[in-house]
């Protein structure tokens, strides 16, 4: 693992200038979670549009570059997608967004916090429950 590999330009750019950062005035879905190891924190809000699509999505949070950049990138990917798409999202998709860095087990949890919040919120809205396979992500 090389930190130059993990902290590529793109991740630092999203860390310092996160896209879709902020709150929505009107939203249908809201979810929040923290990473107890780090204290990383992510909250997401989604406004659902016609045919159950993600019309608008924003997030707020604080934490390391990995957690904040991955959450921001994920909101960009999610915008405009059907809610059902969220069921298909996998951790590999998040790693791909980050450029497939070689993260250790504890930092993987930072990377996946945004996905966990997204899934928790959308699954709840769809009347399902997201059972995190990686435990306390």
């Amino acid at each position: 693992m090389s930190s130059a590999d993990i902290y590529r330009e793109l991740i630092l750019d999203y860390y310092r200038n996160p896209r879709n950062f902020g709150k929505l005035e009107k939203f249908d879905i809201q979810a929040h979670d923290t990473n107890p190891l780090c204290g990383d924190e992510i909250e997401m809000q989604i406004r659902v549009g016609g045919e159950n699509t993600i019309e608008e999505i924003k997030f707020t949070g604080k934490g390391c570059a990995i957690s904040q950049a991955s959450a921001s990138m994920l909101t960009e990917l999610a915008k405009g997608k059907p809610l059902e798409w969220v069921r298909q999202v996998a951790k590999e998709d998040v790693f791909k967004l980050l450029g497939n860095p070689d993260l250790g087990p504890s930092r993987v949890k930072c990377a996946l916090l945004g996905m966990k919040v997204l899934k928790t919120g959308v699954y709840g809205y769809l009347g399902a429950h997201y059972d995190d396979p990686d435990g306390s992500v």
Binding site: M1, S2, S3, A4, I6, Y7, L12, R16, L37, C38, G39, D40, E41, K62, G63, C64, A65, I66, G104, R107, C110
Partner: protein
């Protein structure tokens, strides 16, 4: 290199086999000593010796192995007690500081804390000296309030005195903060608390490993610390309490060893400290703890302290010139133990810790189990470099080098 006037770091380093290992191809620079310390060969040998030569349960069997194990276990109790100027009879072996505070919560708190009573803790406490009192306050209908901090990261004595005027039942505070490093004036606080009619419990987890501590002159009712933060094994620590209090308290856990006689409808209790040591105890851990205390006693705690102050002074000089470096806690190194919590520009502590790890440098990053303090400092996390007997100026240089590398990657 640090030598002669304090301790011979090169000689000390040879006693710690783990310091030979490489991390990511680099020399291990272990600066996470406030979380747990490494173990000298003599402590490792003490554990191996117990398991390979005289492993047996204690206080039960009259055979040779049982006698030897019991003698070694009780000898360790005497050593640990003597190390801090306490009596063996008031020294209870527990799993660690957390179990000690929980023991007091149940065995003392459930008996003596009444509805409406005030419990006082401080905003610089580790969660182990907060959460047990929250649970106690909830179960007894008591109120928990916190002593505030000064901008320099010391306890606000005005705030403490204000709370003491409300006649608290218990005052709980750390001897040294695990984040700010602040060394609190235990003797003064205990005197004031006693005048207000309060019982005191002091978290010594970050003080006993780093400073000479003489409990006879501090006057705390309860004082607790952990073996693994002072070269000993994990899973062993002590609660030291005033004998009268320990005798009056209820037992903590019920089971073997802690009883004198058992009848169908009731039991009578063993003498202290055994009354609080139910079940088979951590014999190996206690013996290893004794070996750790032997090691520190040979070095001399005055010298350990002097060594850490030098490292602190050197680290302040080396790090404070870095642009964006911000340290927390008292600036006067005489007022703090051997650790520095800091932040560096907008590099999050977890990102910095990952980059440092690649350089073989191990630090702690996060909230350090002190979330009330993090909110007080208005940060979500900090880095913490904490020193011990085997750390050298070279280690501080490696830390600075790693921070500079993070600065280059993050374009600070």
């Amino acid at each position: 290199m640090l030598k002669s006037e304090t301790i011979d770091v090169e000689a000390v380093r040879r006693d710690f086999p783990i310091l030979k290992r490489k991390v990511h191809g680099k020399r291990l620079v272990y600066l996470d000593n406030a979380a747990t310390t490494q173990k000298p060969q003599s402590v490792i040998d003490a554990l191996v010796d117990y398991y390979s030569r005289y492993n047996s349960n204690v206080h039960r069997s009259v055979h040779t192995l049982g006698e030897e194990a019991t003698e070694a276990y009780e000898d360790s109790r005497r050593k640990v007690a003597k190390f801090v100027g306490a009596q063996a009879k008031e020294t209870v072996f527990v799993r660690g500081t957390t179990e000690a505070t929980n023991l007091v919560r149940f065995a003392w708190g459930e008996k003596y804390v009444k509805k409406g009573d005030l419990i006082v803790a401080t905003l610089m406490e580790h969660h182990s000296n907060i959460v047990p009192w929250q649970l106690l306050a909830k179960s007894r209908g008591a109120v928990l309030k916190y002593v505030g901090l000064t901008p320099d990261g010391e306890l606000d004595m005005g705030s403490l005195e204000g709370l003491l005027r409300e006649s608290p039942r218990l005052v709980a505070f750390a001897h040294c903060s695990n984040v700010l490093g602040t060394i609190n004036d235990v003797a003064t606080i205990c005197t004031k608390a006693r005048s207000a009619g309060a019982t005191t419990i002091v978290d010594g987890a970050q003080s006993v490993p780093h400073l000479p501590v003489d409990l006879a002159s501090l006057g705390a009712d309860f004082y607790a610390f952990s073996g693994h933060k002072m070269l000993g094994p994990t899973g062993i620590g002590v609660l030291i309490g005033k004998k009268r209090l320990l005798e009056e308290m209820d037992p903590f856990e019920g089971g073997g060893e802690m009883i004198r006689e058992v009848f169908e409808d009731h039991s009578t209790w063993n003498d202290v400290p055994h009354k609080f040591e139910a079940g088979t105890v951590n014999v190996a851990g206690a013996i290893g703890f004794g070996a750790a205390v032997d090691y520190l006693s040979r070095l001399g705690m005055d010298k350990v302290r002097e060594h850490e102050v030098r490292l602190l002074d050197y680290a302040y000089d080396a790090l404070s010139s870095l642009k964006g470096f911000h340290a927390y806690g008292p600036e006067d190194t005489k007022k703090r133990s051997g650790l520095i919590a800091f932040n560096y520009a907008d590099v999050h502590p977890h990102d910095l810790a990952t980059i440092l790890d690649e350089e073989g440098v191990a630090i702690r990053s996060g909230h350090h189990c002190a979330q009330l303090l993090m909110r007080c400092l208005d940060v979500s996390a900090t880095n913490r470099a904490s020193f011990y007997v085997y750390n050298s100026y070279d280690d501080v240089d490696a830390l600075r080098h790693g921070i500079e590398k993070a600065g280059a990657i993050f374009k600070v």
